[in-house]
Amino acid sequence: MFSVGIVGVLTRRNAIVVFMCVELMLNSANLTLITFSSYLGDVTGQLFVFFVMAVAAAEAAVGLAIIIAIFRNKLTVNIDEINILKW
């Protein structure tokens, strides 16, 4: 699942889809944390996943706000055409 996320980040040119692939990678990490937590009978991993979820929600909110702001200026979400950070 992590690898699928990496493929998506590297190949897609749509900024929104790239964001969704980042979410996918976060989720694959969450799955390993839950699995360890379950096999060790320990609650810490599940708490950690809860915090990861909170951070992911915050990240998605800010990221999509940035995308909307960029779309207003450049009228595109294609990350090849967004090069205002280039010197």
Binding site: S3, E23, S37, V49, A54, A56, A61, V62
Partner: protein
């Protein structure tokens, strides 16, 4: 999900993936996290994504590899390398004996009671920090969406 050119369809596939992941969490005795997964990810975050996709209504994106055939080998190499690493770590590393499944304890660990107790005793500081992070992210998103730079 990553092969569909239409972002709406790939978002719906991601919802399916999140739902399946919630089922996996249930199997692994993490009831609270499974419910939180459905509510937070499949509910809130994906509604947000679909909202933005339909708001922006992006143009058809061009096929990636037709423009840049050289990059394809590079990307395939990176991804295969990482995949091999992960598979190596999962299957070829020596399983330790302490990792035997303790089913009774893990059932107990997944309940809301236990998670809540841990969260408000040992982990109260990260919990508050997460709350402030969400507040900051909300304010930041509002400012970013409102502001017009130049």
């Amino acid at each position: 999900m990553i092969t569909r050119p239409n972002p709406v369809i790939s978002a719906l596939f991601l919802v399916l993936n999140f739902a399946a992941l919630a089922g996996l969490y249930l199997i692994l005795n993490a009831q609270f996290i499974a419910v939180a997964q459905v509510i937070v990810y499949a509910g809130a975050i994906m509604v947000f994504f679909l909202f933005v996709i339909m708001l922006l209504n992006p143009e058809k994106e061009k096929r990636f590899f037709e423009e840049r055939p050289k990059l394809r080998i590079f990307i395939v190499m990176i991804v295969v390398l990482i995949l091999v690493q992960l598979v190596y770590m999962i299957f070829l590393s020596r399983p330790s004996n302490e990792l035997t499944r303790e089913a009774a304890r893990s059932v107990e660990a997944g309940t809301i009671e236990n998670i809540g107790r841990e969260m408000f005793t040992n982990y109260v500081l990260p919990f508050e920090a997460a709350g402030y992070l969400l507040l900051a992210a909300t304010i930041g998103a509002l400012v970013l969406a409102k502001k017009k730079f130049e």
